[in-house]
């Protein structure tokens, strides 16, 4: 699967995604030009474990499970996704609240499930 290394801060991250997507052709170009952030889920971590988004800017988050079913839950951004085992799902979000948030896997995935989380910073 096409994987893009994330850079922070997020504005740079998002710009890189958009550019790489168009340059490499290994991931579909977004017709609506919405930046894409890719996140992999694998017991018991998300990769990357931190991303930065811009308040008010719409972004598409593409979630891929590399093993079992995982969740992707963050109440303040109204994110509540299920990532089926071995599959990819997408969610579009426009953060309206600035801050540093802990996003969790809320689909029980094993003994260390309680420590499976990542950070989303909204600036």
């Amino acid at each position: 699967m096409f994987r893009v290394k994330l850079f922070t801060p997020a504005l740079l991250t998002i710009w890189c995604f958009s550019s790489l997507t168009m340059l490499t052709g290994t991931s579909r170009v977004q017709a609506d030009d919405v930046p894409v952030v890719e996140i992999a889920a694998k017991r018991f971590a998300f990769s990357p474990d931190k991303i930065t988004l811009k308040k008010g800017q719409t972004v598409k988050i593409r979630l891929h499970s590399e093993d079992v079913t995982h969740g992707f839950f963050l109440r303040p951004l109204k994110l509540d996704e299920q990532i089926p085992a071995g599959q990819t799902t997408e969610v579009t979000v426009t953060p309206q609240v600035a801050g540093t948030f802990t996003t969790i896997c809320d689909h029980f995935c094993g003994a260390n499930h309680g420590n499976m989380n990542m950070t989303i910073v909204v600036q």
Binding site: F73, R75, D106, H107, A111, N117
Partner: protein
């Protein structure tokens, strides 16, 4: 029937046991003799006289857990069992609010952990033990193994005038109850009057206590909407490995400590959840035992239960007709 008979019919009080919680339910009439007519009528009508009783809540034993926050395994659980057996008044029942065992993908190992839990819990000198599952019991197999050992993951029963409801918010892997169980809950409660004393016991909190620590139930509001039709509801839960008291509307929510390790106060910690480190000099700290007394009066030789009664349900219980419904055989 005198009007005063209908006041404060039943009151439930609970006291933290440190490693669990003991609750006492007792008629809360205002003066001696008040309510006697009502009790007699109930006894005649139902064959079960409403009487004082106590029960214990235990939670989060995580049998099979082996990790840095607690290298003592089942020691606290076994200590709790001894302590309950030493209580001067034996409780009528024990409610276990989930995470009886720690999860493993090896089914045979999980079976052994379930058996070990049963072996220890069966040492408790109590007529009835009821359980709900935690995510570590049921999250990986949708509760299949749990049901083999403990039966239905959600159910209800009546005991001495109190309706107990076991809710499952773990078997769907996500922190949710689900529409099927919500419909069941509506039907289960439909036969009760508004004033019925109801104790719900479940694993995760039914409100957003700390969502980024997974201390919530996503459709908990739907559960609470159903329960909001009733005046006297108490929710007991586990999962958070610490004491907590919370009131939403008329409903009181109480969490029990765990029997394995503790988590910190969620209001004082930013970022991800981390257990309180194990203290080898105080191995039962935060799981510890407090001195016991009933109604604030210390009893010689008693071991635990704080002097501070926690009032769970003190709202008025109105109407003898409602009590008739409450105590009737649900199978009739």
């Amino acid at each position: 029937m005198k009007a005063t008979d209908r006041r404060q019919f039943l009151k439930i009080a609970g006291s933290s046991l440190g490693i669990g919680v003991l609750y006492s339910a007792y008629p809360a009439t205002r003066a001696r003799g008040e309510g006697e007519g009502l009790f007699s009528a109930l006894s005649k009508a139902n064959g079960e006289r409403v009487a004082s009783f106590s029960f214990v809540q235990l939670s989060d034993a995580h049998v099979g857990f082996n990790g840095p926050p607690d290298p003592l395994g089942t020691k606290a659980f076994e200590r709790a069992v001894d302590m309950i057996n030493a209580l001067p008044q034996h409780p009528d029942l024990v409610l276990f609010t989930g995470d009886l065992t720690h999860d493993t993908e090896d089914r045979d190992v999980h079976v052994q952990r379930m058996k070990q839990f049963q072996e220890i819990s069966q040492r408790i000198n109590v007529p009835v033990i009821r359980h709900v599952a935690g995510e570590h019991d049921a999250g990986l197999d949708s509760g299949a193994l749990y049901r083999e050992f403990f039966g239905d993951s959600y159910y209800s029963f009546d005991h001495r005038g109190v309706h107990f409801v076991a809710l499952d918010n773990v078997s769907r892997a996500k922190p949710e109850v689900g529409t099927e169980q919500l419909e069941w809950l509506k039907k289960d409660l439909a036969r009760f009057p508004k004033s019925a004393p109801i104790v719900v016991f479940t694993h995760r909190p039914l409100f957003d206590l700390r969502s980024d620590w997974e201390w919530f139930t996503s459709d908990g509001d739907d559960v609470m909407n159903i329960l909001s039709a009733y005046d006297n509801v108490t929710v007991l839960y586990g999962h958070i490995h610490r004491d907590d008291e919370h009131q939403i509307g008329a409903v009181h929510h109480y969490a029990a400590r765990s029997l394995i390790f503790a988590f910190p106060d969620p209001t004082g910690v930013a970022g991800p959840r981390k257990p309180i480190p194990f203290d080898k000099d105080h191995p039962f700290k935060n799981l510890g035992i407090r001195n016991v007394s009933f109604n604030g009066k210390p009893q010689p030789g008693s071991q635990s239960i704080s002097v501070d009664d926690i009032e769970l349900t003190a709202r008025e219980f109105r109407g003898i007709n409602g009590v008739h419904q409450l105590l009737r055989n649900p199978n009739v």
